[in-house]
Amino acid sequence: MTIAEKILAKASGKKAVLPNEIVMAKVDVAMSHENADVVLRSFRDIGIKKVWDNEKIVILFDHRIPAESEKSATTHKRLRAFVKEQNIKYFYDMKEGICHQILPEFGHCRPGEVLVGTDSHTTTHGAFGTFATGIGATEMAGVWATGELWLKVPESIKITVSGTFKNYVSAKDLILHIIGELGSDGANYNAVEFHGETIRNMSIASRMVLSNLSMEMGAKVAFVVPDEKTISYVQKNSDKNLETILPDEDAKYIKEINIDITNLESQVACPHSVDNVKLLKEIAGTKIHQALIGSCTNGRLEDLAIAAKILNGKNIHPEIRLLVIPASRRIYLEAIKNGFIEIFVKAGGLVLNPGCGPCLGAHQGLLAPEEVCVATTNRNFKGRMGSPESFVYLASPATVAASAIRGEISEPC
C-alpha cells in the first residue's frame, strides 16, 4: 500500500483499503482559522452542545490580523468566546502566525495521523508524513461533532527527485516546474509522494514548500516520505508517541515521475494561473510595483535568510514597495536575532506582523489596477491580491529579493 492507503486503513479501522473506496476516517487534528466562524454556524445548526474532543481541535487567527474591519474583530471576539465555552485546549490568538507554520511548531503534525483543516493549503503538513488535507467549513462542523469524516481513498503519484540545486534555485522553483508540467488539475484527487535523494537532503522548510504548493495541482495530500529529519523535528515539538508510516515496496502508483534537477533554472508562475509557469529568463525585465516575501509557502527562516543575503547593504528600487512577512512569531524572533529584519528595514522594506497578509487579498498591501507584484506566495488568480486588473507573478524568495532591488523581475545573483 501507499502512504495514503496505509494511513486511511488505520484511521478507518481496516486491514487494507483500495483506491476510490470511501471510508469513514477518524480525525486526529482538526484545524480552523478565522473561518471557524463559518464552522461554528453549522455546528450550532447540528444542535450538539459539546465538541467531540477539545484537545484535538486547533483554532487560530492568521487571515485578518490585526482585524482589518469591525466585522473581522467581531469574528475574532465570537471565536474567543467559543474557545472558552468549549475549553478548546489549543488556541493560538493572533500573536503566533500562519496556521501552516504554527501547527508543526506546536507539535500538531505527526506522521501517520489524519489532520484536516478548513484551508486548502493544509496539504503542507504532508511534509511530516501526515495525511493532511483541506476540507470545507460545514464538514468541519461534522468533524467537531463526531470526530469522523468520509474520505475517498486517493490514487497515488510517485515523484522521485535527484540531483543538486544550482545556486539560488530552490524548492519553490522545483514545485513550480512540476505544476507547470502537470497542470493545475494534474494531481486532482490524488495523493502525491515525494521520494529521492534531493528530497532527503532538503530542509524541513523546503519540504513544506513542496507539500504546500502540491495543492495547486489539485493534490488531496502530498507526502514527503518520513525519515530521521522528520522524526527529529517532530520529537522536538511533540511528546506523543510516533508511528512512522512508510509506503510498501510494492505500492501501486498511477503515475511515476522522475526528475533530475541538476540543470533546473529559476521558474516563475505568470498571471493568472499557477500552472502558467515560465523560465524566469523568458520574462525577466517585467516591471513591478510590489515585491512580497512571506506566506505559508515561503515565509520561513531559510526564505528570509536568502532574501537578506541578497538585500544586504542594498536599497530596493525607489519606485517599488517591498513587503516582508515572517510566517510565525518564532521565525520573526530568529530573523531579528540573525539581523535579517535590520537588513530588510534598511533596504526600505516594510516588515509586517506574521500572518497571511495580502496573499488572499484581505488587507495589508493590495494592488491597484494595472499594478504588478512578484510574490513568494501561492496563488496568482485574477483579483487575488486586489484589483482584478492587477497582475501577480509567483517566484522564489531569491527571485523576489533580486527583483525588489532592480524594480523588475530579475534573476538572483
Binding site: N35, D119, S120, T122, A145, G383
Partner: protein, 173 residues
C-alpha cells in the same frame, strides 16, 4: 430528483477567488449577503444576467483553489440549481455536496451544451437531456452515499438525522 434550468456557461479552471472574491471572506454567516457577490470581480455580468434556477455548465477543474465554502454557499443561495462540469476540484466538490448544491461530473459536456440552452438532469441516473437538441448526455452517477446527503438537504440535516438515535448524542447531552 429532476433538475431543469437554463444554462449559464463558463470555461475551464474557474477558481474560487473568481467565484467569491477574498475581500468578502469576512462575511461568515449571512448567506443571502454572500449570494450578492457571486463572480462579482471577474465576471460582473453574471449578477445581471443569471437567474434563480439556472444551471452552471463548466469545463474541467471547476472550483479550484481556496477551500472557502462561501464559493459554494453563494451559488446555492443565489439559487443555482446545479453545477455540471467536466471535472471539479475536490474541496469545492465536497462543499457543494455538503450544502446540497448538486454537482455532476460530465466528461465532454462543454462540447454538447451551449450558453442559454435548457437542460434537464436526472440525479439518480446521471442522464442529462439538452432540451434544444434533445441530445442525451451520460454523466457520472453520484455514489448512493453522496446522493443521500444531497437528498437529506446537505450534511447538517443528514448528520442530525444520523445522530438522533446514535450513541454520540447520548454521550454528549
Amino acid at each position: 430528483m429532476l433538475i431543469r434550468g437554463k444554462v449559464y456557461k463558463f470555461a475551464s479552471n474557474i477558481n474560487t477567488d473568481v467565484i467569491y472574491p477574498g475581500k468578502y471572506l469576512s462575511i461568515t454567516t449571512d448567506r443571502e449577503e454572500m449570494a450578492k457577490h457571486c463572480f462579482e470581480a471577474a465576471y460582473p455580468e453574471f449578477l445581471e444576467n443569471a437567474k434563480k434556477g439556472d444551471i452552471i455548465v463548466s469545463g474541467k477543474n471547476f472550483g479550484c483553489g481556496s477551500s472557502r465554502e462561501q464559493a459554494a454557499t453563494c451559488l446555492k443561495y443565489f439559487g443555482i440549481g446545479a453545477v455540471v462540469a467536466e471535472s471539479f476540484a475536490r474541496i469545492f466538490y465536497r462543499n457543494a455536496i455538503n450544502l446540497a448544491l448538486p454537482v455532476i461530473i460530465a466528461p465532454g459536456i462543454s462540447q454538447k451544451i451551449e450558453h442559454n440552452d435548457t437542460i434537464e438532469i436526472n440525479l439518480e441516473t446521471g442522464i442529462i437531456k439538452n432540451m434544444r437538441t434533445t441530445e442525451i448526455i451520460k454523466a457520472n452517477r453520484l455514489p448512493p452515499f453522496i446522493l443521500k446527503i444531497i437528498n437529506d438537504g446537505g450534511l447538517i440535516p443528514y448528520l442530525k438525522k444520523k445522530l438522533k438515535n446514535s450513541n454520540i448524542i447520548r454521550r454528549i447531552q
